[in-house]
Symmetry: C2
Subunit: 357 residues, 2 copies
DNA sequence: CTGAAAGCGCTTACAG
DNA sequence: CTGAAAGCGCTTACAG
């Protein structure tokens, strides 16, 4: 509004003291008396003074700002992660800047650029589906900005990694399906170059092997993370001569695609087809049947990722840092889409399911 | 990693030229030859130089950064708005910093503080449900940072405002319900100090008046924006001696609360109760019955809000600026939850609805 | 308890 | 086409 910006010099002048002293008063320096602090702050408010972090950061060399890059803010998994990160930032008086990559490698690069230019102290990143090249991550590592991967990580990039027990979670899901008497369990996966999806697949394979199920090679579809790709994959699976009676996915969006497809094809879920997702998105309990899934403890995942910076990195000697993977335990959430037995017993009892199985 | 940060002075020294010239080369100044630009950029990359926006901004006085504050990133309405803002920012080579208020006044204040300190050029804000005091907004107005309200606005704060045709949208909804032969149409609203909700209510009242419906005073519930508040409001409404046969809400979350309550009470939707929401959240077409709602054209709303800054403010003479409200037209989305007639006719034809109406 | 001075890294009139 | 110099607004050793 008014032309010139108010600085500590203006306050100093009005109050007949030095700018350095004003700066100390404003920053609650212990050697400045309460009385003076009050006086200075009052005058600052009066003049509509506002602190300029950029100048302070430039001088101090640290911005007390953390950056986070996620594929999509619209998914509740990510917004929960963000909530966890926000908590940790607030506790440590850090600001948070968030960017989304929209699962695009190009936009991810741009986001990194924005954060680097904003001089954040640390970047938390959950990689875009597309990301295979790692030079943008290596470039950050070559700067004095810390970078921490979470959820979707590339193994060979040597950073702290905060991830779920993905393999165990997928294994637990397969065991659950086996217990529910599903026998022909297929898999729709994500891009294998991301450790996360590789591990989920490994868990699936382990479960299949453990149960000694005989799975045709074409029951395993890789790299179908988008809703449309998952839909196409499911169409293929369900039109096989011997279609699967259950489908394990690596994300709730995929599971939703399968569920909607099944509905449109008149396939009864869970009776004819069991479906399980991953992430415990908020929509999973709104759809019918409700979707069985994995609760990734997203808020906790976010907290831990941020705390790697606040605790492991800020408080430890840089020289002794080593690559380290932090594992956040997940929980299986069993709902209707995979509980064949429950439906069958209730059908016998009450007959409230009218579709034939 | 390495101790000292690389600056343009380091590049200048290595190349035997001045820092100013390096700066110009890096910024594609027209008076620098392509050859030299290339040389400088190559050396910059080689030295892992990274531009320091903070220093540049400090010098330049503008950060080319926009800030946005929304209540929750987890709602698809807001993430779509953000997408629209991102588009406009990208087109104008601006960075975007987003913050969420979690509908809390305190957190909204903090968010403003963060953005002011980051020296953003402009703040776009959708107010928290709680926000009644406006001094934090006035404080921004007293600085050289522009502030633009969108979606949820306080009328008396003199800024550009970008909003939907909220009154018309609510009116259209009531007309639709009337056409569907609903007669006892109740209303669950939001906080009236926010213009948005005031307008939606006005539209509802207009529709009721227009249809000459006789509505008891207790059919109108105000200030019940959270899911739980809406649920409580619906419980009261539905346990009246003469309960409503339709409920108009001002948000999809409220509508979802009503829908879930109806389901648990065994009330058939839309046959016994019509329900309409607002915002066209992504879950509205996942629930059963699907929810009728208002498509707020959220992406366009975001674009327009950002463009008020890029077009109206940046390109016009500041002195001639006036308070102005930009209206984004919404669209009614009719789905199952309010279409009694369709259900009834299909029931007659095929008898596929088993619940009694 | 208080101040003078330097410097963070950049851009940009000014001068040549 | 190129450089020297000032200054954006702050913090912080250093000195008293």
């Amino acid at each position: 509004m008014n032309g010139k910006r108010i600085t500590i010099y203006d306050i100093a002048e009005e109050l007949g003291m030095s700018a350095s002293y004003v700066s100390r008063a404003l920053n609650d320096h212990p050697l400045v008396s309460e009385k003076i602090k009050e006086k200075v702050k009052k005058k600052a408010a009066e003049l509509h003074y506002r602190h300029n972090s950029q100048a302070a950061n430039l001088r101090r060399g640290s911005s007390k700002t953390m950056g986070v890059i996620i594929p999509h803010i619209a998914q509740s998994f990510f917004s929960e992660v963000i909530a966890g990160i926000e908590e940790a930032c607030t506790e440590n008086q850090y600001s948070l800047i968030m960017c989304q990559s929209h699962d695009s490698y190009q936009q991810e690069r741009k986001a990194i650029d924005v954060l680097v230019r904003q001089n954040v102290d640390c970047i938390l990143i959950c990689l875009a589906e597309e990301t295979q090249s790692t030079q943008h991550l290596e470039a950050v590592k070559n700067s004095d900005i810390e970078i921490i991967q979470f959820d979707r990580c590339i193994d060979k990039v040597d950073t702290y990694k905060v991830m779920n027990d993905n393999s165990e979670a997928a294994l637990a899901m397969v065991r659950h399906l086996v217990a529910e008497k599903y026998k022909r369990i297929a898999f729709i996966g994500g891009p294998e170059h991301l450790l996360t999806f590789k591990n989920r697949k490994a868990g699936y394979i382990k479960g299949i092997t453990e149960a000694a199920l005989n799975i045709p090679f074409n029951y395993i579809v890789e790299n179908a993370l988008t809703k449309e790709a998952a839909r196409q994959a499911a169409i293929k699976l369900l039109s096989l001569k011997h279609p699967p009676d259950a489908i394990v996915t690596v994300s709730d969006v995929q599971a939703l695609a399968v569920l909607q497809l099944a509905e449109s094809m008149g396939i009864a879920v869970p009776q004819q087809l069991g479906i399980v997702g991953f992430a415990n998105e908020s929509f999973t309990e709104l759809v019918r049947p409700t979707l069985s899934t994995i609760d990734q403890q997203s808020r906790e995942l976010g907290r831990q990722a941020a705390n790697v910076y606040f605790k492991n990195i800020l408080k430890e000697d840089v020289k002794f840092r080593k690559d380290k993977t932090i594992v956040v335990k997940s929980k299986i959430v069993m709902r209707q889409s995979s509980q064949k037995k429950m439906v069958e017993s209730s059908k016998t009892k009450a007959g409230q399911f009218s579709q034939k199985a």
